[in-house]
Symmetry: C2
Subunit: 287 residues, 2 copies
């Protein structure tokens, strides 16, 4: 297997994640060649014109020229692209993905031909705007970069994935795919669903009262931010992590019910206890 | 009534809101004298030493020397301080408050002696850290500054309150107290409760899995931020806005239930419709 420095890296999907990856690889100058695969002709033209990629195509067949393939498309697009990539990639090609859920993807990677070197990845970063135009070379800097190797993943492939993460300024950690999916349901998919439910609730009032928008300050802005996430990407995430997300939505709904009951009944000591516990816990999360 | 420029302003409570008010008034040099009332001896000493206030005391009786009194304490402290202020303030003194709910406060202001000039206010700003040490002169800049005048509030008092807001760089708007409380339940108190419920839910998983914290990125950070708010302040807010908050928590819980049901059943078209609507709505809120 070639070192990253000698590799041609094909990035499939030049949205926020793929575009930022291309920018970071270019800026750090850590691979031999960057190939972009996207169906968007404007993105191809812009990426080529700005020198972000060395070659660009709408044709997934171009991954045959790569030593490393990174699938940076929504989860279910990755699932449909994996067999195609497996059919054309050269022996020894490392195939990784940046999908936000990992169980289904790692299961699909299991079916790749034996001469392919698969590994799952999920860089824990993003923002509420999407597309190539939102990309930035610094997106991955200081982010946790989850790697979900398969039983068949070779130590060399894991090492190459770790060196890719390090080149982006990210911190690689290795996790089991099922454990990853459970955790991100709590720290990423649940927050998204809460943001969407908050926005829907506030929107109902805003349609009846034209001053609701005026009074929305930084608290509402931050808590509702994720509701503006790309819906196609989020649907893929929710549909490939249904059980975990449903469990956590119900658990959180239960906490909300309890808060509502305590508030309605004016049960202050019990309410204070819960709120103090949450405040203390939140202060401990980000130190 | 004196103009703001000729007024001695007494600020009761030198936490984040009161401290920032004192800093902004000093920086803008828009009043004759700044008096700080706080029970915290360290804050008194620091505010005096830094020249943020001209006089400081633990004694609420000091408001007798003021032309304008601003109560910047938690809502229920304001409710208990109002009669005391009414008993000692001079004729013509403007008494305003910065409480986060307005109905109970405006009702209590109604009982002030007729020679007092009351008006409610709620500057829509804040952060998740509290106390004098978190204060900053720029806190109110560009914030919406809600004014809730009473039937008895004179045009001169309203004008003085508007000039105070303008001096802080804030944008005054006049609202009925009941309408204010309904709106902030949606854009401020509901987001806080969602943050607390999210933190409690994620915390349950974090106690069983030591990698939960590692994977919490900006999405979780922003959505859970309000959970770290000052609990005593929030309890006062929730307890003086119980009906609105309970209504909105139940409405939001209903939206969450529906999302959970659609996800569990894999009903994608209906789920997409809701998520698209929330995303579009959120993009429209902050342009």
């Amino acid at each position: 297997m070639k070192a990253l420095q000698d590799s041609a890296v094909a990035i499939v999907g030049l949205g926020l994640m793929g575009g930022s990856l291309a920018l970071a690889l270019r800026e750090q100058n850590v691979c031999r060649k960057i190939i972009g695969v996207t169906r968007n002709p404007r993105t191809r033209a812009e990426a080529l014109a700005r020198g972000v990629v060395d070659a660009a195509s709408a044709d997934l067949g171009l991954v045959a020229e790569a030593d490393v393939v990174v699938l940076a498309t929504p989860v279910r697009t990755i699932l449909s692209q994996l067999p195609q990539v497996g059919a054309v990639a050269r022996a020894g090609t490392v195939v990784m993905d940046f999908g936000s859920t990992k169980r289904d993807i790692v299961a699909a990677m299991q079916s790749l031909p034996p001469h392919i070197e698969p590994i799952g990845a999920h860089p824990m970063c993003g923002k509420e705007t999407s597309g190539f135009e939102s990309s930035e070379a610094s997106l991955y800097r200081d982010a946790v970069f989850v790697l979900t190797p398969l039983g068949r993943t070779s130590p060399q492939t894991l090492a190459l994935a770790e060196s890719l993460a390090a080149a982006l300024g990210a911190h690689p950690i290795v996790l089991d795919a099922a454990r990853h999916d459970r955790i991100v349901a709590a720290v990423s998919h649940l927050p998204f669903a809460l943001s969407a439910a908050l926005t829907a609730t506030a929107d109902e009032l805003a349609r009846a009262d034209d001053q609701v928008n005026s009074l929305a300050a930084s608290g509402f802005r931050d808590t509702s931010r994720l509701a503006a996430s790309d819906v196609t990407m989020m649907l893929d995430i929710l549909m490939t992590n249904r059980e975990n997300v449903t469990d956590l939505l119900r658990a959180c709904g239960h906490h909300l019910d309890e808060l509502a009951n305590l508030i309605a009944a004016g049960e202050e000591p019990a309410l204070r206890l819960r709120l103090e516990r949450a405040a203390e816990s939140r202060r401990g999360w980000f130190k």
